[in-house]
Symmetry: C2
Subunit: 107 residues, 2 copies
Amino acid sequence: MGTTKTQIFTQKQNELAQYFKVLGHPARVAILQYVSQQNACICNDLVEEIGLAQATISQHLKELKTIGLLKGEVEGKRMCYCINLELWTTLQNELNTFFNTTKSNCC
Amino acid sequence: MGTTKTQIFTQKQNELAQYFKVLGHPARVAILQYVSQQNACICNDLVEEIGLAQATISQHLKELKTIGLLKGEVEGKRMCYCINLELWTTLQNELNTFFNTTKSNCC
DNA sequence: TTTTGATATCGTAATATTGCAATATTAAAA
DNA sequence: TTTTAATATTGCAATATTACGATATCAAAA
């Protein structure tokens, strides 16, 4: 109990839900938006910018990095996070496919 | 602690995250897909189709209905759930806007 | 080499989510 | 009216998520 029963769904369904889930937190939405607004690579100004504790931001960044939406490069003692444009574009296409193929016309 | 700090984000960010979150469960992805495959209105065959308990399916349906992605019509002692095409299309556009405006070109 | 600054990780508390059995509810059928 | 079938709701247990303080790590600066 309490755990999502992933075994009973297709890999595709689980994968799709996983991406949606990672995007399903306003801090992570905000992080992605902020990172994309800086056209130079910007690091943990996010802590000031967003207003969550450093540990919390770091955790959200990790989730985004783990699923591949962000890539992080070490730059001296700073980290440089950027959107992984390849996956970003791929994901956008996948989501559009999902939306287009999930359009009922009944009712 | 433990609660998402919605106050520190914009309404748009919260709203977007909310939709992502609802879509972030494979059962709800599966429900939307199944409902859309039936071009007649189909009810709780979902319980058999998906393989979760009736109470659980009902709960997921409620979430999808609450956020507006599904609309339910009573049909005798059955319920008829359908995708709310208007919101579906609007949401698809919003997500595309999010993806298009969140494309960094650094790194 | 010591200090400093940026980030990651650990541990923990508070809260949310998932799932189900049991129990309502309610409309048609008998 | 009683039964039956479909769905909703309640209550609860298991687990996951969110957030943060306290530390650890680690590279550059002093």
